[in-house]
């Protein structure tokens, strides 16, 4: 894969947001089944209600995975050196998740271009579900 244009991005650059619409209970169930994380708060409505919640809520790691897809699509999976997600608010059934990011730092050393990227995942009301950051390392050698 050519990474030519990836070396010449600038601080302030963004990629178009990733929008995941109508994330619903079925998505929580599918993620539980695929990941092995069967925390009842995400998939068993009575358990969530017993715990004082209005309904089940999304696994934080599902929203984190949307963030990871955004970064991998933008920079290439192989160039992601670090990814951090902080869980700020809960994702409720039916919400739409919008992931966006911005390059906040660029550095070049030897044959490597590095970026620090700030990331955010928001719900339809603009509440921050996840704030995060990533380090990207592009090997410039042909």
């Amino acid at each position: 894969m050519t990474s030519e244009h990836l070396e010449s991005l600038s601080v302030g650059d963004s990629a178009p947001p990733l929008v995941v619409s109508d994330v619903d209970r079925i998505d929580f169930v599918k993620y539980a089944g695929a990941s092995g994380d069967f925390n009842p708060m995400h998939v068993v409505e009575p358990a969530a209600i017993d715990a004082g919640r209005e309904s089940v809520f999304g696994p934080g790691m599902l929203t984190a995975a949307f963030v990871s897809s955004y970064v991998a699509d933008w920079f290439g999976l192989e160039n992601v050196a670090r990814l951090r997600t902080r869980f700020e608010a809960l994702l409720w059934p039916g919400d739409t998740v919008r992931v966006s990011g911005e390059i906040v730092e660029r550095s070049v050393e030897d044959d490597r271009t590095s970026y620090e990227v700030d990331l955010v995942a928001e719900n339809g009301d603009g509440d921050v579900l996840i704030s995060g950051d990533a380090t990207i390392e592009i090997d410039d050698r042909p």
């Binding site: 089944g33 092995g36 984190a64 192989e78 869980f87």
Partner: protein, 168 residues
């Protein structure tokens, strides 16, 4: 407060255990995981697409090692242990996942067999926003492949939130 005292928890800091074993990265699981996170990239489904992009095989999505939760990937002798030997005594109803971080050395690729060594990195307490103690635990899992090469390190912060007063 967790069931264990802060002193007891602090004594566990620095201990390491193999908590993930024989995690075979299988094409079917990778595709299923990609589908569940609604990522339709061909990269996670086609050897040709992966080869075109310069990968040695089909790579897994960046958060794929979450599948370490499956008992199948837990060393048999730990399967019956509470939290695989890292039972912090946190009240599950009050415990939240605060943060998750990954550091990647190389992509997780179909055909890899991963072993994960988990370390309790830190435990500390803070005053909660509305009083009471919040307890934080930082856990790290270092994943190595069949050639003993470091593939990635994941860190997660678990927080036992303060016991709430009567909700308003």
């Amino acid at each position: 407060m967790p069931e264990k005292s802060l002193e007891e928890l602090r004594e566990m800091v620095g201990t390491s255990k193999v908590t993930v074993e024989d995690l075979h990265v299988e094409a079917g699981k990778v595709e299923e995981f990609a589908r569940s996170i609604r990522d339709d990239s061909e990269l996670y489904r086609s050897e040709e697409a992966a080869a075109e992009r310069g990968f040695d095989g089909i790579p897994a999505p960046l958060t794929f090692t979450r599948v370490h939760m499956f008992p199948r990937y837990c060393p048999p002798e730990r399967r019956d242990e509470k939290r695989r030997g890292f039972d912090l005594g946190f009240d599950r109803g009050r415990t939240v996942h605060g943060e998750q971080e990954y550091e990647y050395e190389r992509p997780v690729t179909v055909g890899d067999t991963l072993t994960g060594t988990q370390t309790l990195v830190d435990v500390y307490q803070k005053e909660g926003g509305r009083g009471g103690q919040m307890t934080f635990a930082e856990l790290e899992i270092e994943y190595r492949n069949q050639d003993d090469e470091l593939v990635l390190t994941e860190r997660r912060t678990r927080i036992e939130t303060a016991e709430s007063e009567e909700d308003d």
